[in-house]
Amino acid sequence: MAAWLAVIVFGGFAMLPVYWLFATSLTPRAEVFSYPPKLFPSSPTLDAYRALIDNPALFAYLRNSIIVSVITAVLSVIVSAFMGYSFSKFRYRGRRSLMYLVLSSQMFPQALLLVTLYSVFSAYNLLNTYTALVLSFTTFTLPLCVWMLKGFFDTIPNDLIEAAKVDGATRLRTFFVVVLPLAAPGLVAAGLFAFVRGWNDFIFALTLAGPDKQTLPPGLVNTYIGEASTAWPELMAASLVVSLPVVIGFIALQRFLVGGLTAGAVKG
């Protein structure tokens, strides 16, 4: 009984806003500006979604988002796999310190890093480029992705690696041919996390990228916020569209992700 009560009260807090986002996106523009609001749009319409499609600026932001997030995902998986493999299968002095160094790097405030990062990228003429965004995002995915992949590598028996060595495989070949295929689910999960990091970011894209390289989050803020009367149905429709890839990707990979998520944090 108590369980149901908690689900209804807290679940209502969780899900009603999601419903409201969806309902508003289907509401005709004129109807939104009436009070009290109608909980069910009286004549649902896809006008808001059509307005999105007719806006070429949004497609430019979308393209930037896709480019930046995909490259971030690929780069992050490569860099994290190397690092996670080193932490998982080799024993050397300072290993644990290095591991905690990587982990603690996620604790530094990004607003503060940006104060200098802006000047650094400016000095190398990298402001308003995909490079600046990809390098930043990839770095911030490392703590989670490295620890997650280390967890996957830990489950691969050392015997397999030894056997490959006996067969005369080089260390790099062993890594690419024996280890990586076995950790494939981990690579996909880490890749998705990195993709989402790039996709959801706001502060870096807002600061380091000019209007023509900006991704969707700052792009949407620039397009819709601060006008006299915000086009709420359009903004809610855009919000829903931006959220879809992340939600779908997560549902598809939930099995691996929830495990990796909790493992990384519970074990430290």
Binding site: A2, A3, A6, F10, G11, F13, A14, M15, P17, V18, W20, L21, T24, S34, Y35, P36, P37, M83, F90, Y92, R95, L98, Y100, L101, L103, S104, S105, M107, F108, P109, A111, L112, L114, V115, T116, Y118, V120, T139, L142, W199, F202, I203, T207, L216, P217, P218, V221, Y224, I225, W232, M236, S239, V242, V246, Q254, L261, T262, A265, V266, K267
Partner: protein, 289 residues
């Protein structure tokens, strides 16, 4: 393993550490160094001013910012914890559809921070917002309120929006913890006649002590530096009432172009954050043993 393995292992970590140095370590150190200089984003060069920036910050906004940051952080840590724990306990019973519900409730945590802001901006809207309509319908308020435009309510509104984003993570972590509690313990306690509250207090809480501490600490650290939702929802306003260290440092650097003051504020912020990070590392090392 033969001798070269150590070198090979270090080589593997090289790309990652190069990135960490370039994007985290160097900018961090150099931002902190600029605390001791008068430096602007608008023109090159800088002058050493010693502790001037830091005393200026301390005698200026610091205490107010600290108070607001703490209000935001404590609120956005405790509320999600309560909601997340409640849901985790509920979903850990054998109610039907627990898996599907858990998946659905992750949505607020998955969507981009700006989407969270847009949605709550609309819910809190002074003229057409659904929250005003609901509360008026319930008789809780007499007239529509401008939640985001009043210093008294803006911070609460920001905390509510951030809570909505944070609780799913708490729920997932605590649920994972709950599933490690052996069911035999509950069964034995039930045989002994222990009630629900008793079982919760003497089995669940002690068993989860480690993970409860960890999720609260991590959430606290993250919220202590949270930026997105505050910045989009209120921009730190009205009258600076929702500024935290994160938004204040950002505005000082990129709206006021004052890198020295931003660095000074950042330095003090980092000192406080450093204590939390040390606690966290201490905590997770203990957890590994």
């Amino acid at each position: 393993m033969k001798l070269g393995d150590g070198a090979f292992a270090l080589l593997l970590t090289l790309p990652g550490f190069a990135l960490l140095c370039a994007v985290v370590v160097y900018p961090l150190v150099s931002a902190l160094v600029s605390a001791f200089f008068e430096e602007s984003l608008l023109y090159p060069g800088r002058d050493f001013v010693g502790l001037d920036n830091i005393t200026a910050v301390l005698s200026g906004d610091f205490l107010r910012l600290l108070g607001q940051t703490m209000t935001f952080t404590v609120g956005t840590t405790l509320l999600p914890f309560i909601i997340g724990f409640g849901l985790a306990l509920a979903l850990n019973t054998k109610i039907k559809g627990a898996k599907a519900l858990r998946g659905l409730m992750l949505i607020p945590w998955l969507v981009p921070g700006v989407v969270v802001s847009f949605l709550w901006m609309w819910i809190f809207n002074a003229n057409y917002g659904v929250l005003n309509a609901l509360l008026e319908g319930l008789g809780a308020i007499g007239a529509p309120q401008a939640w985001l435009a009043h210093p008294d309510t803006a911070m609460v509104a920001v905390i509510v929006a951030k809570t909505w984003q944070s609780f799913p993570w708490m729920m997932v972590m605590l649920l994972a913890g709950l599933q490690t509690v052996p069911p035999e313990l509950y069964e034995a306690a039930e045989v002994d006649g222990a009630g629900v509250v008793r079982r919760f207090a003497s089995i669940t809480v002690p068993h989860l002590r480690g993970i409860i501490g960890l999720v609260i600490l991590l959430e606290f650290i993250w919220n202590f530096q949270h930026f997105d939702i505050i910045y989009v929802l209120t921009g730190g306003g009205p009258a600076g009432s929702t500024h935290t260290f994160a938004t204040a440092v950002y505005d000082t650097a990129f709206r006021g172009f004052d890198l020295g003051m931003a660095g000074a504020l950042g330095l003090l912020w980092m000192l406080l954050l450093g204590i939390l990070v040390v606690l966290y590392i201490h905590f997770s090392e203990k957890g590994e043993k």
